[in-house]
């Protein structure tokens, strides 16, 4: 099977092996073959993970990201001891320490790359669930019962779908088969190839992707039914026609990475194409002000929601807000204004560029905001009429499940898709030509580094692996549907409050 496909169609959501674009993938371990190698290719036959491959009669550069580690390599029936020339050495990849950061640790990056390549969890001892931020999701653990509580559950039929319209107001009844959709990233901040890769992958999974505030390029038209268009303060590219194209419209009040600040696209990124879509002038910096200057109350906000509902009489409305101290009041206000989806974007969310001071310090992390809002909406008696979506620092399937257990219905992601496309978290997206990996850039030479079919498939693979992990987590908890997990905090433990939490790795034993 190949991942070649027609650009204007969403491919099927099947996993297809999709290796790195850049030479050899980076892994935790480095497999070094010295010049002593005589190309006997014994290692090719011996390694069960296919680290060694023949290239004609010679040994190709080893795919060391697939290596299970030092311990495996030294077993009597494995590569190191069976090399007649003593040419194989396995050690740690010394470059991996210079990768990533506390939130996206080297291992989290590598495990996500592995999922995007193979659609499977890595088999080595790489951490794939949490990072090293020492708080929030990284300190929460699932309390899996020792034995699966419900043997009658079939893991392959566990329901991971969520409903996006709980108001039952006669508008579209939309359900997505995975509890995740793609967050807004504008054309301009990312390339059209990146944008379409995300859209096509989520469309393959019958979910949605938000356009962000960068207008609605024509290339997106084939995917209208899987796109959320955004209305933000700059109103770039917002037209009656684009509002009517889609099934969901998102109001963006604030962004978690820069809460209370506006957006700013540097003039150098405003190319002809970007300017045309946004209906502006090429080369001129674009400001998206904060806030909506016509909204100073919940009543003003309701008026705007009503306008959108009048322009598109079938669509659902999502309201994206940040997490201030009164986030619970903001959420109930959005419900009152008629939102179907209340989308909370926590303070550690992604961005194409934002002041460091804002990313670190302003507004609360999503882990606190979810239970606060969930409980408030429950007490107000409206929780079952609104879909609560969380974003801002969701990296893994475990983060998704934890967010839901804390009280969200589902999540929105952004950075994990970019990591699937081999983002390396160098934090240089804002600078000059932008991304050296051709993801967050509009520079034509760099954009050409990525093929659309490749990008789409990488994200499909990751989503597939996430769905499998979510099913495993639910199976171990004895829950037939992800809807049963919402607000079920008793399945979680926190390392600061409990000393007896066990490893929640779904790879060990299980099923």
């Amino acid at each position: 099977m190949s991942y070649k496909n027609i650009w204007s169609q969403a491919p099927s959501a099947e996993v297809v092996n999709t290796p790195t674009r850049f030479g050899r993938a980076l892994g935790k371990y480095a497999v070094i073959v010295s010049d002593a190698c005589n190309n006997c290719l014994r290692c090719v036959a011996i390694c069960p993970e296919k680290v060694f491959q023949a290239q004609g009669s010679k040994l190709a550069a080893p795919l060391d990201h697939l290596c299970l580690g030092i311990e495996c390599s030294r077993k009597t029936n494995r590569c190191v001891l069976n090399c007649p020339q003593d040419a194989i050495k396995v050690g740690y990849n010394s470059s991996s320490k210079a990768l990533g950061d506390s939130r996206w640790t080297p291992e989290l990056l590598m495990s996500t790359w592995h999922m995007a390549e193979t659609g499977q969890l890595p088999k080595s001892d790489i951490e794939y669930r949490v990072g090293a931020t020492e708080g929030g999701f990284d300190k929460l653990r699932f309390r899996f019962p020792k034995k699966a509580p419900r043997k009658d559950l079939d893991v392959d039929t566990i329901d991971t779908s969520i409903s996006l319209n709980k108001r039952h107001d006669g508008r579209l009844d939309i359900s997505i088969p995975v509890p995740v959709y793609g967050g807004g990233m504008s054309f301009g901040s990312i390339s059209q190839t990146t944008m379409l890769s995300r859209i096509r992958a989520f469309a393959a999974w019958k979910s949605f992707t938000c356009t962000g505030e960068g207008g609605y390029p024509e290339a997106l038209y084939p995917f209208d039914d899987n796109i959320i268009t955004q209305v933000a303060t700059g109103l770039f590219g917002v037209k009656e026609e684009t509002i009517q194209r889609v099934k969901i419209i998102e109001f963006k009040y604030a962004q978690g990475a820069k809460p209370g600040l506006g957006g700013h696209l540097l003039g150098s990124k405003v190319t002809e194409a970007v300017a045309r879509i946004r209906e502006t002038v090429p080369g001129s910096s674009l400001f998206s002000p904060f806030p909506f200057h016509s909204v100073y109350s919940v009543e003003d906000h309701k008026k705007h929601v009503d306008w959108i509902k009048a322009i598109n009489t079938r669509a659902l409305v999502s309201v994206k807000v940040s997490t201030p101290s009164d986030v619970d009041m903001v959420a109930i206000g959005s419900y009152y204004a008629g939102a179907h989806i209340v989308h909370l974007d926590g303070s550690y969310g992604g961005t194409g560029a934002a002041p460091d001071v804002a990313k670190k310090n302003i507004a609360m992390p999503i882990e606190y905001a979810i239970p606060k809002v969930h409980n408030f909406l429950v007490n107000e008696g409206v929780r079952d009429q609104v879909t609560l979506i969380a974003s801002g620092g969701i990296r893994t399937a475990y983060d998704i499940a934890k967010a839901i257990a804390l009280g969200a219905d589902g999540v929105v992601t952004g950075t994990p898709e970019l990591v699937a496309l081999e983002c390396i978290r160098c934090h240089n997206c804002e600078s000059g030509r932008g991304c050296a990996r051709g993801i967050a850039t509009t520079d034509l030479e760099l954009v050409a580094l990525m093929d659309l079919a490749w990008g789409t498939q990488r994200i499909i693979n990751m989503l597939s692996c996430w769905r499998d992990q979510l099913r495993q987590i639910l199976y171990r908890l004895g829950l037939p549907s992800i809807k049963d997990l919402v607000g079920k905090t008793e399945v979680l433990g926190h390392l600061d409050y409990s000393s007896n939490l066990e490893d929640d790795d779904i790879r060990s034993s299980g099923k």
Partner: protein, 463 residues
Amino acid sequence: MPKKYHIHVHATPNRYPTIGRSGIVDWGEGCLKCAKCVKTECVYGVYKARRFSTDIFSDTIDQLCKSCFRCVQGCPKRLIHKTINPEWEAMGDDLYTPETISVTWMQAETGSIPVSGAGYGGKFSGPGFDSMWTDMSEIVRPTRDGIHGREYISTVVEIGRKPFRLRFSDDGLLETRLQASIRLPIPVVFDMFPFGDLSDNVWRATAIAASRIQTLLFLPYSESRKLDDFKDFVVPVFRPSQIENASDLNYHRMVELIDESVTLNLVKKIKSETPDKIVSVRMDALSEKAHIKRVLEYCDAGVDLIHYVADERGYEPGKENGLHVKDVVKEVHNSLVRSTFRDEVAFLVSGGVAMAEHVIKSILCGVNLVAIDIPLLIAMECRVCRNCREGGECPVRISQIDPEYGADRMVNLIGAWHNQLLEMMGAMGIREARRLRGEQGRVMFRENLESDTFAQLFMDSSS
């Protein structure tokens, strides 16, 4: 509206090479001599632009590399590696981390706000100021720059005694005598350096910077008289025993006295004889009741400013497990409020203010303004190695700095900080730095968020 405050910055490159986070390790041995080497394909062209610098006797590649890892991944023999620079990792301490030092250098060089792509990559939270998040407003944002005559965000604060109430005579004339005060355009003053390769040049550089941004420089009395050309911006700091005759006190419009047993009476004497002399008391930043009682006694004696000094890391001085200054400030602020002195005196804290966000967080906890020290040294390229403390040599020879150059670097840093204050205030919907003071409800403290959410959900009843 008064004239808008603007700090003029301009690029001021470092004298010495900065220490970078990571470096390329590039082995030649085993090279396959590929027809198209990954080094020729570098997006940023760093392999072409690299040279040998005779300033640092080293390759410049690590200052050019943006860590995209394309070459690391691309080399079929894995001959190219990136590693964390051990010298970078070893810089500073738990407050002045390598990241903080690097980003302070960048601000001192460029005068611009640190901006980067992708979400925050640091820890979830941490000790001290890192356990606070500032609030934002979904619907209110003042215009940052006051375009078209609209009111802009003001960072003005004042030092000086304010009357508790105004009294008017029967015919409507003001009877209350208003005392002198100093208006600062930014809630940041410069404090004495706790260490440093100091010299007359360094003090002069700092005084020039203080005068350019129109703030104050606190420095030992012995140094103060060398800077008479900056007398309006200099606050001499005295031990009471150092005062030989009263004229010592009269030269500057404001003086600071170190808290000793005799200081209280001295403050009373000065304030009764010369009520317009602005007097500050420099006290250890301690939270004990008895110590706070002494703060209130100074307030009663008519002091204009209470200056609390924490240790270099921002904790109660001289204590093993002292409170962080944010908690000390909260205590003192709340005591000042209860005793009704809060609006009459100004409250300043120094020690542990390492980044722009610490200014705003301190003010939200209850001070009017903060004083900074080590960040100014870092602006002058200090690596926080503290060699100077043991009489060792300064690796960047700060004592030999050209005063104008040093001032440019410090002005750049404060310019960048000022912009960050505006961003954070704008996000909160607050237009006046004066209105930030003690707004503890507009901060989210981790301990409160924890007790409201996770503690209730996850507290183990068994343990």
